[in-house]
Symmetry: C2
Subunit: 341 residues, 2 copies
């Protein structure tokens, strides 16, 4: 069933049927009702391919996921962000095009999307320092929103959490408990967010005249095994940390495993703070928060990012939209005073 057939069956022109379905005012309400009823009865839905061609809009937003080498984007936060964004897209009538890039040529993928017009805008996640994607997308004149930020953050739209502040506060919290040998298990420092977190950590130390301890700092893909292996090595090494600051709950879970193997109880023998993205399957709140954590819902971020991106698509001349979200600090059972020995 297509528009013409539907129109014929109603003794109307395709024009009128199209207008009736799309809510234009030039059609009598009675006619519109007739059309809507017939469309429903015939289970008619306008062909999206034809509609996209005719309107020139793709009604689609692209997410490009690089799959190079390490876990990188293939981490669990990716799913929750996607879900949040997808909810909004569905509500607003946009499709979500997910594009995996295996050859490392993310920029080529963007060029392709722009050239063949299959999306109206794209989401940029996990920017690295002076991320080339930003310059490229400006050049391509394709609406985009960055989750995170980098370089000079004035010329484009982004949404980010206050990473420096969060990690500075978390570090202060540990320092206030008397900890001095604090380890930082960070995400890959190629990413801007990890650099900021490190900076927050170092600033807090510096404010008390302390220097970071190189042997207690590591960064890598945020996996459980990274947390486990790194924490194990640090705990078994000279000058072991009395507290850990981790960039993700996943890492913290690895740390917990290392601690538990060594008979160390969290909150008493060892303290752990992490950043909690509030992943749906790693709820940190059951029976009181397990980990003391800085928190910010990645799913809510996905939702808001989608809203902003759609706004940018609808109003291309709009000045950039920028949002900085503060994080919460929730005190859980994984932190306590530095054990004196």
């Amino acid at each position: 069933m297509n528009l013409k057939e539907l129109a014929d069956s109603l003794n109307l022109s395709p024009t009128t049927v199209s207008r009736a379905l799309n809510g234009y005012p030039e059609v009598r309400e009675e006619t519109r009702a007739r059309v809507l009823a017939a469309a429903k009865a015939a289970n008619y839905a306008p062909n999206s391919r034809a509609r996209r061609l005719a309107t020139g809009r793709a009604m689609t937003i692209g997410h490009v996921i690089p799959l190079t080498g390490r876990a990188e984007m293939v981490n669990p936060i990716f799913a929750d962000f996607l879900i949040g964004a997808g909810e909004v897209y569905a509500r607003e009538g946009y499709d979500l095009l997910l594009s995996m890039v295996t050859d490392g040529d993310t920029e080529g993928a963007f060029r392709q999307l722009a050239a063949n017009g299959s999306v109206d805008g794209v989401m940029v996640q996990a920017p690295v320092a002076d991320d080339p994607r930003i310059a490229l997308l400006k050049e391509l004149d394709l609406p985009f929103l960055v989750h995170g930020r980098t370089g000079d953050p004035t010329g484009y739209s982004w949404l980010d959490i206050a990473n420096i502040r969060a990690f500075r506060r978390a570090t202060d919290f540990l320092l206030d408990l008397g900890h001095r040998r604090i380890a930082l298990l960070n995400g890959q420092e190629a990413f801007d967010f990890a650099q900021r977190r490190r900076r927050g950590f170092e600033e807090a130390l510096a404010a008390r005249g302390l220097a970071p301890l190189p042997h207690l700092m590591a960064d890598d893909a945020m996996t459980e095994s990274f947390g486990y292996l790194t924490a194990s090595a640090m705990l078994d090494g000279p000058e072991p940390p009395t507290a850990f600051l981790a960039s993700s709950v996943i890492i913290a879970i690895g740390i917990r495993r290392a601690a538990s193997e060594r008979g160390l109880r969290l909150g008493r023998d060892l303290s752990v703070i992490c950043h909690d993205d509030e992943l749906s399957y790693l709820n940190n709140d059951v029976g009181g928060p397990a980990f003391t954590a800085t928190r910010s819902s990645i799913r809510a971020a996905g939702r808001r990012c989608a809203e902003i991106l759609i706004e940018l698509i609808r109003h291309p001349e709009r000045p950039p939209i920028q949002e900085l979200w503060d994080t919460d600090l929730t005190v859980g059972q994984s932190t306590g005073p530095c054990p004196t020995r």
Copy 2:
């Protein structure tokens, strides 16, 4: 830059340029080379919307994710499956359309996709008993592949792992170690896979004349907190289990937390086996496998599912394709003989 402009600049007809770009034989190689060079120089890419309309193919595959109430699909395995499938789609020139359904009307979403022709086929994940999606998709005549299976599995294409066999084997493994009070922490038993796993568990017990213990069986969304809370309650209750069988590493991590809080060491005081989907950020293999586990890569499943679905789309008259994958049993450090007391 569109086809006509490109053709004009080459003094060729759009027909010829289109054929040159699409590899048809009716064009001289020299001409083809000229066209390709010009297209590249002009950074030309055919408009995908127009192409889709003209060919009648969407070159898009849909994944529909229900977001009703509980975590359900919003679990971490979803991401890895998606990534695997996405790799193949990208290689084969298909787009991946991700559709979130928030109002619970998954079937309506499928109808919509079929009616407006925005996908050539869909992936069905996590089927429940006699899943209505299967009948619907047959009726809509939309190619689809089920990851998992349910009901009468002869009339459609699917890929599944041997859940019964896996859980039977895992249970046997625990029984051989002398365990008798074995707890099952399953995924939601509305899902077919969870029902099969339970069946494998019960069959293994029955084969030794044992009955399952109702107070040691639970099923829910596979979150860390489900594992933690349920294991805590069971361990603190009467007749605590000496071993756990869990449907996911995530659940097992929760069990480990409960055990560790009670000073129980895995592999010595308490045994845990889980099913491991080989999630990229929860590698179970670092420094020897942490958990004894039945294993099957969900990402590899995603890849293979995508391949099969594309095959089905290309050859609609093909008889159903069905694949049953066996799982590996990897012995890790989380299991040991039943402690005698």
